[in-house]
Symmetry: C3
Subunit: 196 residues, 3 copies
C-alpha cells in the first residue's frame, strides 16, 4: 500500500505545486506565466517627431546627425533615407493631438537602414516625471516601416517600470512630408515587479 501511496502523493504534490507556484511568484516578482500571454501592464501613448529641415529650428524635435558620404544632414537621403541617423527628444501624449499636454518625453535615436526596403531601427526611452508616472521605459528593435504594425522589445525600465520587459507595438499614426510623423505605441509588459 505504502508503495502505491508515495507516487500518488508525489503526483498530488506536483499538481498542487503547479497551482501554487503562480501565486508564489505574484508575491515577489509579478511575472505572468500564462500561455495566454496576458500582459501584466498595458499602456498606450503617442509621440510626435518633427525633423529639422533647415527652416523649422523652433519647432523641430529631432535632427539628422549622421548621414552617408553621398548625403547631407539637412534633407533626408534618397532611396529610403538609407544611412540617415536621427536623434530626437519628442513629446509623448495620451492622444494623437500634437498640442495635447505632454505626459513624458521620447528620447533616443533612429536610423534608416534599409537599402532596398524602407526600414528603420530604434533605440530610445520614454521618460516620465509626472504625478501619474515616474521613471523610464527602454526600447530597442527593428522597425519595418511599411508594415502596418511593428513589434519592438521593451528591454528594461526604472522607477514605476522597475525591471520591466515586454513588447511595444508601433503604428505610424500620421506623417506629413519628410518632416512630421506620429507613432502610436502600444506597450505590453509581460514582466512586472511589484512596488518596493
Amino acid at each position: 500500500m505504502a508503495g502505491v501511496a508515495k507516487p500518488l502523493s508525489a503526483l498530488l504534490l506536483c499538481s498542487l505545486l503547479l497551482l501554487c507556484t503562480s501565486t508564489a511568484m505574484i508575491h515577489g516578482k509579478k511575472m505572468r506565466l500564462a500561455s495566454s500571454r496576458q500582459p501584466c501592464k498595458r499602456l498606450v501613448f503617442y509621440f510626435h517627431d518633427i525633423i529639422y529641415n533647415g527652416k523649422n529650428a523652433k519647432n523641430a524635435t529631432a535632427a539628422i546627425v549622421g548621414a552617408p558620404a553621398w548625403a547631407n544632414r539637412t534633407i533626408l537621403a534618397a532611396q529610403g533615407h538609407f544611412g540617415d541617423l536621427v536623434l530626437f527628444d519628442d513629446p509623448v501624449t495620451l492622444d494623437n493631438n500634437l498640442h495635447s499636454t505632454p505626459v513624458g518625453r521620447a528620447q533616443g535615436l533612429y536610423f534608416y537602414d534599409g537599402k532596398d526596403v524602407f526600414t528603420a531601427w530604434l533605440g530610445f526611452s520614454f521618460v516620465f516625471n509626472s504625478t501619474e508616472h515616474r521613471g523610464s521605459i527602454n526600447f530597442a528593435g527593428a522597425d519595418p516601416l511599411l508594415n502596418k504594425t511593428r513589434d519592438i522589445s521593451v528591454i528594461g525600465g526604472t522607477g514605476d517600470f522597475f525591471m520591466a520587459r515586454g513588447i511595444a507595438t508601433l503604428m505610424t499614426d500620421a506623417f506629413e512630408d519628410d518632416v512630421y510623423f506620429r507613432l502610436r505605441v502600444d506597450i505590453k509588459l509581460y514582466e512586472c515587479w511589484e512596488k518596493a
Copy 2:
C-alpha cells in the same frame, strides 16, 4: 514521533519542490533553471557585411554615417577605425556562402570604439519573415574583434522569439580588405516563452 516527522516531511516537500519547479515553469514561461545552463533554443546563422567604399554602391550593404573630425565617411579611419559608425542591412544566411538565399536580414549599427585596441560595439536585430521563422531577435554588446569568439547579449525578441533572452557568440568567419566581412552568430537562448 510527530516532532521528528514534521521536519522530515518538510525536507521531503522541499526536495520534491526542487524537482517539480522546473516542470511547473515549463508550462508557462519555459525558463531553464539548470545550473548546467542548457539553452532552451539554439540557432546558428551567418551574416555578410559589405561596407560602401565609394566604388561599390550596388553591392554595399553598409555605410559609414558617422566619423570623427579627422576622418571621412568613405574610407575607414586609421588606428583601429576609432570613431567610425556604420549602419547596415545585411543578408542573413544559414551557411557561410554570401550567395545563399537569405533567410533574414541583420539590421542595425556598429562602431569602432577602441583607440588602442581593435574593438567594436553592436546594436542590431535579426529580422525574419519566412515560413521557418517569423519575428525578430535583438542584440547589444561589446565586440572585442581580436578575440576568436565574443559574447554579446540577446536583449529581447518578438514573434517566434517572443521575450527571448540569451547570449550570442560571434566569430569573424572571414574578412577581405576593409570592405567585406562575415560573422558567424551562435545564438543560445536561456529564456524562451511557449507559443501563445
Copy 3:
C-alpha cells in the same frame, strides 16, 4: 475529519511552497523575488571620459562622430549640445582617481538629445578581463544629466555577469569644462545566474 484535513494540508503545502520556492530558485537561476528588492549583486565603479577637442588627441578617450547640420565635430554644440553623438572607450576604475589602474573599459556611445533641457542617452558596455571580473555588462537608458542621480537599465551580461539584469544608478562625480567628466556607476543586479 479527512474532509477538513485536506484543505488544511493544501494550505500548509502552499505555505511551505512559498518558503521553499525562493530556495529552489537559488539553485538554478538566482532570482531574488523579494518585494524588498534586495540586489543579488552590487558593484560600484567610476569611468572617465575625455572628449577630443582638437588639441588632446593623446589623452582623449572619446570623440564626437555625429553632429547636426549647424554644428561641427570638434566643439560640443551650443544649447545643451543637442545632436552631438559621442563614441567612447573609457577606463573603468574602482575609485574616483583617473590615474588608478583600470579594472575594465567602458565602451559605447552617448548623445545629447535634449533641445530644451540638458539630457543624454547612453548605450554601452563594461568590459572586464582581469582576475577579479571576466565578462561584460550591457547598459541602455536615458540620462537626464541635471538630476543628481539617474537610473538606467542593465539589459544583459556575459561571462561572470551571464544573463544579468538590473538597474545602474549614475552620478556625475566631476566635470571640467566640456572635456573631462567622471561618472560613478552603482550597479544593482536583481537577476543573477549561478556559475556554470
